[in-house]
Amino acid sequence: MTAAVSFSKVSRHFGSVRAVDAVDLVVQPGEFFAMLGPSGSGKTTCLRLIAGFEQPSAGHIEIFGETAEGVPPYRRNVNTVFQDYALFPHLSILDNVAYGLMVKGMGKTERHRQAEQALEMVKLPGYGTRKPGQLSGGQRQRVALARALINRPRVLLLDEPLGALDLKLREQMQEELKSLQRSLGITFIFVTHDQSEALSMADRVAVFNNGRIVQAASPQEIYSRPKTRFVADFVGSSNVIDPAAMARFGGLERWASLRPEAISIGAEGQLRANVRSSSFLGAATRVSVLAEGVSLSVMVPAGQPVPDVGADVNLGWAPGDVHYMDDVA
């Protein structure tokens, strides 16, 4: 099967800055692919390379088997939902959505009919006569989505699509984007710095740092088997333990990650620890403990006894739950 997007040794340099540095990447057709990383890690530049707003300094990009270098954005079967939505302020919502069809030369009646359908798909029927300035952030984002999807792209690029929305709207849009992607079968590639968004939405996640992909894998893999310390730190929520502490805990003298829910508090544990604080999360309670001078977080599921703050407890975990990592960024 031809890959939807493939990068081989792609670099993009701005002066002496290597925004993207020899990246290899394959996105499969129909995949919901996330590019995750801190700002300046090269994820947005990768997206712009696919859209055609940037040209690679070195390397080769293919989109559905066709060479992408030198092909201008308007000749790529790829559409983008911009971070600031980039709706045309002087056009009505209907004309915004119909823009791609208009520049292809489709007649007014037909393109307005299709635009109306696209607005229905994003649950904004009847909003066509308004101007972008009259819509809320969430509505503008749906318009941007309809405007991109009406062109039936083979790849849809989303640049921090949910960044500007509040939490409730963001969760709702996550659901809608997922179901939209499933029903349309289009390859979605989205850029985000929010690890929970990437893990909950994507089929596969590429974690970026310093212009390189550190790890590209399923969310489960990224979460439970981070390849390097950077991934474990950035994806967060896991305990990152340094080599010296790991040796004191009786493990190998290497960097390791240990998921909070893999640690159990109980009498059978070997390790003494002191409870520093605890916070109730609903389905579980997150307990912060200090063991051998290392601060660890432990997830106690609801229904099990939660130790008091200041109490001494025993900790235990199965050796197989310790995941050793490379000490590289």
Partner: protein, 271 residues
């Protein structure tokens, strides 16, 4: 909470403001009145009588028509040149980064900061060095130097407010460079260009100094008026023409002001 604007300004302040405005505008009113006076050799106040005859006299003077026609041609062509060059320069400076961008920005604006007499002398010596005969086109070149600035300033301000991602969005949706210019860039900068163009037209229409240095034997309307003031015959004709000049330059400036007043809302859908 915003505080209410203060209403009662003190009487001396009101008086001073009134005197200031009168000082600025009464002379213009005088010009208007003198266009109707019956006395033709000197400006006598109050006018001994009022007549409309000077409008008819002005209408029948071919030199007035020649000067007016030349001024309209010069102002129109200068404005068109300024619109093209000013927009291109503004687009380059605001949309791209290149070496020497700030320097070019300064160089474009410089002609309006330079005294007209410097521009005029510089152009005159350049024209004679290059053996270019003085004609309507040399006047247009001279006017172009400051008309470009007006258009550039208006366009660059609008370009800075127009998000660069709009252009990318248009290209992303399948529009090539020309379609993007026609459907996205032009509608977004149209009012700024209209305002800049009108200001440029008005500036060119009443320009004297640069015209003196770059014009040959022909006179534009303002130059014609200067020459006419020296002759003590049919003086009110000059005032009639002055009234026309005020109207021709004032109306575009007023229109430009209204067009750019609320610049947050971009007018004109380009359809």
């Amino acid at each position: 909470m915003r505080s209410e604007p203060q209403t009662g300004a003190s009487f001396p302040l009101k008086l001073a403001a009134g005197v200031g405005i009168a000082f600025l505008h009464l002379p213009i009113l005088l010009i208007l009145v003198y266009a109707f006076t019956t006395e033709e050799k000197s400006f006598q106040w109050p006018p001994p009588g009022l007549t409309l005859k000077w409008f008819a006299v002005a209408w029948n003077r071919p030199d007035v028509w020649d000067a007016l026609w030349l001024s309209v041609k010069v102002a129109s062509i200068s404005t068109i040149i300024a619109l093209v060059l000013g927009t291109l320069a503004a687009a380059a400076v605001s949309q791209t980064r290149f070496f020497g961008r700030e320097a070019i920005s300064l160089l474009v604006i410089l002609p309006i900061a330079l005294p007209g007499i410097i521009t005029g002398i510089a152009l005159r010596s350049a024209f004679s060095l290059a053996d270019i005969p003085y004609s309507m086109w040399t006047i247009i070149l001279g006017h172009g130097t400051f008309c470009v600035v007006v258009v550039y300033n208006n366009a660059v301000a609008r370009f800075r407010r127009t998000s660069g991602s709009l252009i990318e969005a248009s290209m992303d949706l399948g529009a090539d460079g020309f379609q993007t210019f026609r459907h996205i860039i032009l509608p977004n900068i149209a009012t700024a260009l209209l305002a800049g163009g009108m200001l440029a037209f008005a500036l060119s229409f009443d320009e004297v100094i640069v015209t003196t240095f770059t014009g040959g034997q022909q006179s534009t309307l303002p130059i014609w008026m200067l020459q006419e003031l020296i002759r003590p015959r049919q003086r009110p004709v000059t005032n009639v023409v002055a009234v026309i000049v005020v109207l021709v330059t004032f109306l575009p400036i007023l229109a430009a002001f209204y067009l750019t007043r609320d610049t947050d809302e971009v007018a004109g859908s380009g359809k």
